[in-house]
Amino acid sequence: MPDLLTHALIAYVIVQIASWRYDWLTPAYATVAMAGAFVPDLTKITLLLPSEVVESLLPVPFDWGALHTAGGTAISILVGVALVAPGERRRVGLLLSVGAVSHLLADALLRNPSGRSYAVLWPLTRYHPPTPGLYLSTDPEPTVVAVIAALVVWYVTRD
């Protein structure tokens, strides 16, 4: 999806619902999952520092697009985990993963002319799984649904 708001709201909804069962899921940890939902879009760094500029400096092929895959996201999460105190690393790693996976899955459902999604599991496999094509990246519906779902879980979870 094009906007980070939808991705952040999806992660928020997942973590708020999980907090009904897991008492340790405080708002601080919900924030971690929301930050995790931004992780795959680190690939947008290409707008500031184009992939081909980096590639021209390296002896190997290079594409920031790899950050928007399972492998690239795993590495980004490990960097995030290293930034927090040792006692928090397991929970933070888990919640960054929840957010990031929700982002990759939501994008894997995007409509494509080929009927195929992107190589979401790279570098394990270059397979492009079929996509149900539920929405276009520019459809407003996913955002509307995410906002409504977030308001409902916020209302249910509040005091």
């Binding site: 906007d3 929301m34 992939s51 930034l83 928090e88 002319p113 276009l136």
Partner: protein, 131 residues
């Protein structure tokens, strides 16, 4: 651009529509080059400046015969950029509110409830859950 390597193959291409007769898009290659492609056999109507995504066959002369295709608003639209910017601010504010830098080893730690001023009822919420 090594367009000829894809001749006769099925390709997925996309880019901004710069002409509609014939339909022409400017696509960016994986190596960062820009290439003008003519799209034929497309059944959906197109308008300039929208982005066209096409799945089709690569033909000689930088022409792609469309199997399926549709247009979308430019992904870097003002709306998407604005909404994403505010989402970033929102999550950043949450991080600052819920986490702090521990100066002894420069790592992030959750703000403990004793030093954390409850706002919007979230502090009380936490206390309730801890009971």
């Amino acid at each position: 651009v090594e367009y000829h390597r894809y001749l006769g193959e099925r390709v997925s291409v996309g880019g901004q529509i710069v002409d509609t007769a014939p339909i022409t898009i400017v696509a960016e290659t994986t190596t960062g080059h820009h290439v003008r492609l003519t799209i034929t056999d497309l059944s959906t109507p197109v308008t300039r400046h929208r982005e066209l995504l096409v799945y089709g066959i690569a033909k000689p002369g930088h022409t792609v015969r469309a199997i399926r295709g549709f247009t979308v608003a430019p992904s870097a639209s003002v709306y998407a950029v604005t909404v994403s910017f505010f989402a970033g601010i929102w999550v950043l504010a949450r991080i600052v509110r819920h986490w702090r830098i521990d100066p002894t080893d420069w790592t992030l730690v959750p703000r403990s409830e004793s030093t954390f001023e409850p706002r919007l009822g979230e502090g009380r919420d936490t206390d309730r859950r801890r009971e």
